[in-house]
Symmetry: C2
Subunit: 402 residues, 2 copies
């Protein structure tokens, strides 16, 4: 491989990202964006068309030159070119998607996971999901890669999931090795919150934004962010640990080893723990009835249901959680000055008490001048957002390494 | 200007940044870094040498090919090519430097500023400093640009300093317009903490690092950061407001409009206010004597002096401030996963009580796994770091816009 070939491929990768982001573009637009001359653009675009990575989506009048009446090609990614599997392992679920090169979901698969399940069984469930999705390969341009995301510390280059505090026993899992053997294709690995942010960046409400925060509120609390147009990873792929913002140095012990982390007061896990204490203390007859008096079994979803039925104790729990998250988020916003904060994860569906309290404490604690630049929104991608983002990352890796 | 010429200049800019960062390099190294062929590198390097932007700093044996005994040129930035002025406006000082293209300081100028001085007088002092530095131009390759940094919100593209909370009356100051008229050269503008981070990145302890945090502890508290190798600005150039981390929603009113910001408990300004209250309440005989009983006039530097003389009240103030900063910093570290946190600003010289308390609360509240990846250090650049970083930014802008 010559230096020139490397440079050519890097340029192709950047042009593809650009087209993916714009959804539709033209040769002229590519030339302007990359300061390329007409001939260089033509060579590259013709090549991408002949490889069926790009497709011509019809023609449009050229606004820049209406007199000469020219019509320009509309260039777009050809979704049918290839497909990618994304698998999202959470503390309470495994979600898988098969999506095409344009990010359209072709097939979904989902398992609930009981917290505390042995690691081997979790891996078996993940393999079952990937096999199920792979069985649809014949309907695609071919599955080119698989992406797996896990909450917690990952080493994407080594393909190792180092630790996921909310999945007991999950340590140094060689995700790439395990799945490459299973599926015989390249396997990408990332943190689940960063996969969520990636989905928002390419497919969701943050499309095209250079600076935004994606907050993943679930059994744990994680954050993915784009900084200056790039997915932020930090120096050792450990960025985004907003769940371990210390909100009370004298607070409860956290699974991470510190005390008083946000996750100990506001995560799905913490809400369930507080609800369980509340049931035992007789503070909510409704929660008691919903769980048939089995305080241990209560979940954040039960609390959300009870709150929607106007249970004051449950409403209070969600409000307190939202308020704590809003404060930590405000501090993150003050540091990062994002244009959008997008909320996702299972707790977001826990309803208005949590979201309202979050929004109000976020507004109160964000610095004036930064607050006005920021929009708070809820993800529209739903429960498979991290899996979709992970399929996207797997595709990016394929094209970057081509 | 053709598209090709734009592309060529962009490439030149990236190559120059690379050489600046490496300090010394060779044609082969440039070729490998940018995937360029030998001829393209030769054309570019010969051009940079003929323009005297680069210089050959001797020759060195080529390690890669000892048998053929080749000696490779050592290429470096030619500092003498041109010079840049950097001016740092703080709440208590104006610092100016004249530095060459390689970042070496040729001349310094400094004024203390009494907090509360009218904006016009501050601008006059800044102009005096720039005139003084400009008078040394004959000893340089020519002053090509001036950079000005101010704490607070700036709009670098418009050249307007929007607001600096700690400088009363400083609002919407058209810094570029004012100084361009004064010096007749391009004027760059940035936030002072980002200028500090830039100095650390190119000239200080963070040279070559992709992810680090530069904390600017002075009359106010600001933060500059590099994320993935790039100076982080946020969506509207407002990132880094760690001083407005809410540490107590029920706390004191802050100049920003919110309550309980870190700056209200731990900045130089807050320490002075607490010391002043303490003197009036008779809690420190030493501070009383050091200020001749004039409680209003006490500064954070007086508190530092008293602490170094073992005054328990002053030591306690610095420890409480350090501890609060350490907590806010830990939360920033958990979000950003930097490899280094570098401390600068006037308060850093306030001595061990503050730094020790900061380090210990930072260690306690940073998430295990992230803590181990991070090194805490104190800037070695001294009081003119922001001014030096600003001269650097002014130079970068000249080369980017060439």
């Amino acid at each position: 491989v010559t230096a020139r070939a490397v440079s050519r491929k890097a340029k192709r990768g950047r042009v593809l990202s650009f087209i993916r982001e714009k959804e539709e573009t033209s040769r002229g637009e590519i030339a302007r964006e990359f300061s390329l001359d007409k001939k260089a653009v033509s060579v590259m675009v013709d090549e991408l068309l002949s490889e069926r990575i790009l497709a011509v989506n019809g023609f449009r009048d050229s606004g820049s030159n209406p007199v000469r009446g020219r019509r320009r090609e509309v260039l777009a990614i050809n979704g049918a070119h290839s497909a990618y599997i994304g698998i999202d392992l959470g503390a309470t679920h495994i979600t898988g998607v098969l999506s095409d090169l344009a990010g359209t979901v072709l097939e979904r698969a989902y398992f609930e996971v009981r917290p505390g399940l042995p690691v081997d069984l979790i891996l078996d469930q993940m393999k079952t999901i990937s096999a199920r999705l792979l069985s649809r390969e014949k309907d695609t341009g071919g599955v080119r890669a698989v992406g797996v995301c896990v909450p917690g510390f990952v080493h994407p280059r080594a393909g190792v999931s180092l630790v996921a505090e909310n999945i007991p026993g999950w340590r140094d899992v060689r995700v790439r090795e395990i799945f490459q053997k299973e599926v015989g294709r390249p396997v990408a690995l990332e943190d689940a919150s960063r996969a969520f942010a990636t989905a928002e960046r390419w497919l969701g409400t943050c499309r095209g934004l250079r600076d935004f925060i994606a907050l993943d509120l679930g059994y744990g609390i994680g954050m993915g962010m784009y900084a200056g147009g790039t997915l932020h990873t930090g120096s050792a792929w450990k960025s985004g640990e907003i769940g371990h913002t210390v909100v009370d140095p004298e607070g409860l012990h956290c699974a991470c080893g510190n005390n008083g982390c946000l996750e100990t007061v506001a995560s799905g896990r913490a809400i369930a723990r507080q609800a369980s204490d509340g049931i035992r203390a007789g503070r909510s007859a409704l929660l008691h009835d919903l769980t048939h008096g089995n305080a241990e079994s209560v979940t954040a979803q039960d609390v959300a249901l009870a709150a929607s039925m106007k249970d004051p104790f449950s409403t209070g729990l969600l409000e307190a959680a939202g308020s704590a998250v809003g404060l930590a988020l405000a501090n993150a916003v003050n540091l990062l000055n994002p244009s959008v904060v997008v909320l996702g994860g299972g707790l977001v569906s826990a309803g208005r008490p949590l979201i309202n309290a979050l929004a109000s404490s976020l507004a109160r604690c964000t610095m004036p001048g930064i607050r006005e630049d920021m929009r708070l929104t809820v993800s529209e991608l739903g429960g498979d957002s991290s899996a979709r983002g992970m399929a996207q990352i797997a595709a990016e890796d394929v094209f970057a390494g081509e």
